[in-house]
């Protein structure tokens, strides 16, 4: 149990993971769930247990597209998109970029709409 980690993600997300009663509505609604190792519901449980290592090494927060399908139907009003962002930022703010801009193929860089490049690099680099 990493109490400091729990406090930090509460501070960054502005959300209280203790609200969650693990109904799984978020996982059922998530269009990216099939690409994840931990489901959205599990991410909340791991976060409030302070299981830092499991979360930062998991794929889940990096395949989340912040589409907010989880939060609009959450019966507890919990905004999971903010928790996902907090976990990403804890890694990214230590300069551990998840995507290197130079690794995006040159032809794709020219082809991608600006909102994809700006949005993607905001989510995947520190």
């Amino acid at each position: 149990m990493d109490g400091e980690f729990v406090n930090k993600i509460k501070e960054l997300s502005g959300e209280n993971p203790q609200l969650c009663y693990q109904c799984g509505m978020c996982s059922g609604n998530c269009p990216a769930a099939s690409h994840m190792d931990f489901s959205p519901r599990q991410v909340i449980e791991l976060a409030r247990l302070g299981l830092h290592e499991e979360l930062v090494s998991s794929k889940t927060v990096w395949v989340c597209a912040s589409c907010m399908a989880c939060m609009v139907d959450c019966p507890r009003g919990f905004d999971l998109s903010k928790l996902m962002e907090a976990i990403r930022l804890l890694a990214l703010r230590k300069r551990a970029d998840h995507v290197k801009p130079e690794d995006v193929p040159v032809e794709e860089r020219a082809d991608l709409p600006q909102i994809a490049m700006v949005g993607g690099l905001r989510k995947f680099t520190g």
Partner: protein, 306 residues
């Protein structure tokens, strides 16, 4: 108040990749009698709204655009890009509702006039629905899109989170009503608000065809002949994803339209303003087959992405 004057925020993608979203919109709004006042010195909105509670610096860019709109004497700004709409609308809500963060941001931007969220941020579909109304719009239609079975695809950012939604989050109807006003047949399908994969095209591009498969196949099963979009990133992900499905899975292909292209066609404007050369899924061939446009090639018809 001059109700037909609106501040206009274009955003980066519309001025480059998505001319086929912007150009038909500007021509249509002019035909409908609106005067658009493009914001001087607009800047990138940052594309995604910052979700971290301590991250105020990324709110500066969207808020500056709202201040510019106000400085030009506008109390409403219209936006076409779904990403920009979401970023500006959420930043505006922050400035309106969070006194502490508002003060910090206002102090940081001490060269700007104080801003407290006065500008109303609107999507073009809201303007068409609330300023013009579907009945009036349908009377302005010169070329009804009869016989076109089109599925509206909302994606995420027009509807989520709830506090910025342009319509009912669970059961939106604004695009169906819009299509019906133009004379088309709207086709509803359950994946119309499901994410296209968004910026994951940068981080995990291999996942994108899977997102496209769920959306396109579902619309096709319900009889849609084309998909109607509002967002340049939905267009890219569904367009690129579709190319993979056509190549590897024998997917028959589905034309992708921006809603503004259909508006321009229905208002009887020159199809050249639609910039179909920038579309995925060859909508021109489909429109010719349906008799909406003539078989004469438009001048820009080169280097299509179909």
């Amino acid at each position: 108040m001059d109700t037909m004057k609106l501040a206009y925020y274009p955003g980066c993608t519309l001025k480059t990749k998505a001319a086929n979203l912007e150009e038909p919109a500007l021509a249509s709004l002019e035909a409908l009698g609106f005067r658009l006042d493009e914001i001087d010195r607009w800047n990138c909105c940052g594309a995604v709204y910052s979700l971290a509670d301590d991250d105020l610096i990324h709110q500066v860019a969207p808020v500056r655009n709202l201040i510019r709109a106000r400085q030009q004497g506008n109390d409403r700004v219209v936006i076409l890009c779904s990403f920009c709409l979401n970023a500006l609308k959420r930043a505006n809500l922050l400035m309106k509702g969070d006194a502490e963060k508002r003060d910090t941001l206002n102090r940081f931007m001490d060269e700007e006039p104080e801003y407290t969220g006065e500008v109303r941020v609107l999507h073009l579909l809201e303007v068409l629905r609330d300023d013009i109304g579907w009945e009036t719009l349908s009377k302005k239609v010169k070329q009804p899109l009869r016989g076109l079975k089109l599925a509206p695809y909302y994606g995420c950012t027009l509807l989520r989170p709830r506090e910025v939604a342009i319509d009912n989050v669970e059961n939106p109807s604004v695009m169906q009503d819009f299509l019906a006003a133009l004379g088309a047949t709207p086709v509803e399908f359950p994946e119309s608000t499901r994410c296209c994969g968004s910026y994951q095209v940068v981080g995990n591009p291999g996942d994108i065809p899977g997102y496209a498969r769920d959306i396109l196949r579902s619309a096709g099963r319900r009889g849609a002949e084309g998909l109607v979009l509002t967002c340049p990133l939905c267009d890219y992900d569904l367009g690129k994803g579709q190319q993979e499905l056509v190549k590897k899975e024998g997917f028959p292909g589905m034309p992708l339209f921006y809603f503004t292209q259909l508006l321009a066609l229905a208002l009887g404007l020159d199809p050249a303003v639609c910039r179909f050369d920038l579309n995925f899924g060859d909508p021109e061939a489909f429109l010719q087959e349906k008799g909406v446009i003539s078989a004469e090639p438009t001048p820009q018809k080169t280097g299509g992405k179909a």
